[in-house]
Amino acid sequence: MLSKRIIACLDVRDGNLAKSIKFVDTKDIGDPVSKAREYYEDGLDELVFYDITASSDKRNIMLDVVESVAKQVFIPFSVGGGIRSVEDANKLLWAGAEKINVNSAAVQRPGLIDECSHALGAQNVVLSVDIARVGASNDIPSGYEVVINGGRTATGRDAIAWVIEGEQRGAGELVVNSIDADGTREGYELTLTRMVAEAVGIPVIASGGAGKPEHLYDVLTEGKADAALVASMVHYGDYTVSGLKQWLSDKGIKVRLKY
């Protein structure tokens, strides 16, 4: 049977690794290429890079990062941040990314998902959604709202309705990122993750809040996620990828242990 995937997320700004705390304060913590290689050799299943570079003139630095990673890391990796067209997406794929991640730009112009899916194949298009808990209302029946621009802008869109639309438009996978849990290291948003996993037929990657191995276990079982995204808990050396996988395996979760 399919193994549950452990995916490491590297936020890259101006070519350097950064990790956000609640999406506001970011600080640089190192070189993304060497970090990617370290995780790959330690049994990571997949990598995600988010380019959080603010200025567009520095965007090409990301292509160099992708190119260097692709020469050394032979697991799937996706890149997100700043993709507004098929042309942007193709540049990243050509540099060596396996998949592209679309987020805010897709909310602002949903046709971007259709265009990327048509041009690159659904399997290469990951829809990443930042979601805030707002309480159920007429406009937001699920009680979860899509937010954009790193969580700073509310959209008035219901998160569950949006992920279903994203799947219909041709997204091949979903990243569910809880703004409330992100950076807290207090656990994933299990209710939200499970709601999304039950609403769509494509793989769901849980994101935001991982701090302990138990959190991964919970989201891969109760949260019904296909993959768990980790960041700070491995970036700062508190846990290793191989250690997390061994722990999960001991708890009865099928993960890839030989690599």
């Binding site: 399919l2 659904a122 793989p203 030989k258």
Partner: protein, 208 residues
């Protein structure tokens, strides 16, 4: 020279980088049928839909070149979509394929509704028969899959690997100088690279 067939179906550069990493430094990406015919070994990769891929192959004359190459007896490796297009027919778009190996490409029809299609992620491959390209891996090792369709061969003797995803399907096939993997060995870490490296050592002689 090792030719990697380019027919606008997937990231041929990933395959080329993986080749370079295992020392196959003469790997060249090509859409030229004559380059394919003249190669010492060929990798036929691919992701995406067989529907448009089969047309592109035909328009570039690569279908005939691949068929000729196969009959030359030199080593041919199919990956993912490439592993599907070598058989006779695909359910995807109801397309006739190359017909190098007797079989059909079928879509997953899974009884368990919790199993998602496409099948995306790392899954185990049980080796059912030994082969020179499998010398660096063991039965049960995991590889990275992304697909909604799989090959069902006519002759069970062509099956080298099986994988369980709600139902048992063929994840590795071989016949004469042809070997195929449904998974992406170029994205399957050290073990995937191990298959690629062994392919580089293989002279195309099938195991007896």
């Amino acid at each position: 020279m090792l030719a990697i067939v380019d027919y606008d179906a997937g990231n041929v550069r990933s395959v080329q980088r993986a080749c370079e990493h295992v020392g196959l430094t003469d790997a060249e990406i090509t859409a030229d049928p004559d380059v394919v015919r003249g190669a010492d070994r060929v990798i036929f990769p691919g992701v995406g839909s067989s529907e448009s891929a089969v047309d592109t192959l035909h328009n570039r004359g690569l279908d005939a070149a691949l068929t000729e190459f196969y009959h030359s007896g030199k080593p041919l490796l199919g990956i993912c979509l490439g592993s599907q297009i070598v058989v006779e027919h695909s359910e995807e778009g109801d397309k006739d394929c190359l017909g190098l190996l007797a079989g059909q490409v079928k879509r997953f029809q899974l009884a368990d509704p919790s199993l998602k299609v496409p099948h995306i992620g790392w899954n185990s491959v049980d080796v059912v028969r030994d082969h020179p390209v499998l010398k660096n891996i063991s039965s049960g090792d995991e590889f990275y899959f992304v697909h909604s369709y799989y090959v069902e061969p006519v002759d069970p003797e062509t099956i080298y690997g099986r994988t369980d995803y709600g139902e048992d399907f063929c994840s590795m096939l071989g016949q004469n100088n042809l070997f195929t993997t449904q998974f992406h060995l170029e994205k399957s870490g050290r073990l995937g690279l191990g298959i690629l490296e062994a392919f580089g050592d293989w002279d195309g002689t099938p195991p007896c």
